[in-house]
Symmetry: C2
Subunit: 329 residues, 2 copies
């Protein structure tokens, strides 16, 4: 294992310091706690907080900024943050309008974010949450009841964050988040495993010519293994799974993310993006917004995911609103 | 070799189509030619064109946009674009104020961009160029006379592009580009080789516990091999090489890029960014701008580079000016 790190136990804290260093004074880190917060908190706008285990960078700290998240809670690698950390984030961003937690559907995250909500409510704070479950690969998984929350979470951050920025109420921001969740479908494809630093070796094995369709963002199993193919074939297969849920009709507006898992070159993601555009055009839907790059990774896993969100006019507007978050453009 | 591609010979063209698909209508591709151009060309402003072999994404197409490049010429992987392609870019972006070519110092690029300049001049066009040579690892290399041009090129794009956006003359834009070049130093570190798709295997070998200091962005040899260390030690060593050239004084203003080579997780780059901030603070220089991520890659190489540019007030202002290029934020 060759990794650009110091001590394994310092990885997340040192990473957080580096995120702040690279933010050009837009972000700060809470003292003695791996929570990244906007430098300027607007107490008149709903606070939006997300987070989870680290190893998915730029998620979620890269989405902290005006028009997106107020804070990101950075747990240890592939490990839910503790309720205390989440509570620290809630109190640091405390707004008169209340706080919405955006939770990716993993059992540990759901439990800890809900506990933090209860602790905050006990202090008289107004905190609600949504659970993102965009992964259409599996109905249940080894790490969740119900579907996993993966790359589509970023579009929840974007639309709910833009709504919060307008000064909307907590109920309105939650309504927007729920709408994105209901209309978002993602599926992943794994080409190679990742190495969790504390373990030091690959977390699963794939054959020389084998891929895993529907792989999770921690290397959890997907739907099935299959042979390596041309990327165009994979994109067709992935879009079919996505569209089984979305059932796109002629003229439907969509947002698309072609996401890399960490070690896949941008060159390959762009080739997949080209085909993704084609299959969506073939379904006669209209792409209103598309981004391609590394947005929700699994350390150094090779592979990609495709996310499609069906949009109405409200979501189109929120998606195109400005943000200064580091990783959204 | 598991790569998300179709036919090897179609990689660059399909990638260019995917870049356009992911640009939200900001970019277009020239017909039958792998050149990415801004959708709206302002013929009243100096055109800025760069490019080179592909495989370094997001360089250079990710830097095409208002306030940065007018066009990027995308050669085959690790292969200079032909003079014809470069000439196509020049004519597509033809401005009354002339064109500046930003060339990374590789023998093939220098020859082909200069040939294109001569062909354009023969058509009566006003074309000048600068050569970027920011790599302080080696005085000469296997692929160049003089130092190589690597990640610092992006800061040339940014400052010269912002200057062009003000409506400045070709001579003024060139002056700014030359100033960035004179004040920029970069050094790379390789942890693992990359796989060129047409070759299908790693382009060099490193031992289990070995890294290459000063590695080039095509896997060309660096200064020496050394043992794997803590990242803080590498950053100290790299900054020492950079500062041997820049000789930073107390109060000097700098811009910093901590750049990944393609397969290194953002998590690790942030840890390196944290230490980079520390060593620069220790040198009593002031960071005016810092960005961390994958900006000038070598397909799926593991490793990083650090770039530091000494800034005067003019460069600070140009660096902070707005751009809508996809990969600069």
């Amino acid at each position: 294992m060759k990794k650009l790190i110091n001590k394994v136990e310092d990885i997340v804290q040192e990473m957080c310091d580096g995120i702040v260093a690279s933010s050009n004074k837009k972000l700060r880190k809470l003292k003695d706690c791996n929570v990244i917060v906007r430098k300027k908190i607007d107490t008149n706008k709903v606070a939006l907080i997300s987070g989870g285990g680290s190893g998915h960078e730029p998620a979620h700290a890269g989405y902290v900024g005006k028009g997106m998240l107020s804070a990101a809670v950075c747990g240890e690698i592939f490990t839910s943050p503790t309720p205390d950390m989440i509570l620290n984030a809630i109190t640091a961003c405390n707004s008169q309008k209340g706080t919405l937690l955006v939770i990716k559907n993993y059992t540990g995250d759901v439990i800890n974010f809900q506990l933090a909500q209860q602790m905050a409510q006990a202090q008289g704070l107004n905190v609600d949450y949504v659970i993102v479950n965009d992964d259409v690969a599996l109905a249940d998984s080894t790490a969740t009841t119900g579907r996993r929350g993966i790359c589509g979470t970023i579009l929840v951050h974007k639309c709910a964050g833009a709504m919060a920025e307008t000064g909307a109420s907590l109920a309105e921001v939650k309504r927007v988040a729920e709408k994105v969740i209901a209309n978002t479908a993602t599926i992943g494809l794994g080409l190679d495993a990742c190495i969790v630093p504390a373990i030091g070796k690959k977390n699963f094995e794939l054959g020389e010519n084998e891929v895993e369709m529907g792989l999770g963002i921690h290397g959890e199993p997907g739907v099935h293994k299959e042979e390596m193919k041309k990327v165009d074939k994979f994109v067709e297969e992935m879009f079919e799974a996505i569209n089984k849920q979305l059932k796109l009709q002629k003229g439907d507006k969509v947002a698309v993310i072609v996401n890399g898992m960490g070690a896949t070159p941008l060159m390959e993601l762009y080739i997949a993006a080209r085909k993704t555009q084609k299959v969506i055009k073939k379904a006669k839907a209209k792409i209103e917004f598309m981004m391609t790059g590394n947005f929700m990774t699994a350390i150094d896993m090779a592979g990609m995911s495709i996310t499609v969100t069906k949009l109405d006019d409200e979501l189109v507007k929120l998606l195109k609103a400005k943000t200064n978050a580091l990783a959204f453009k």
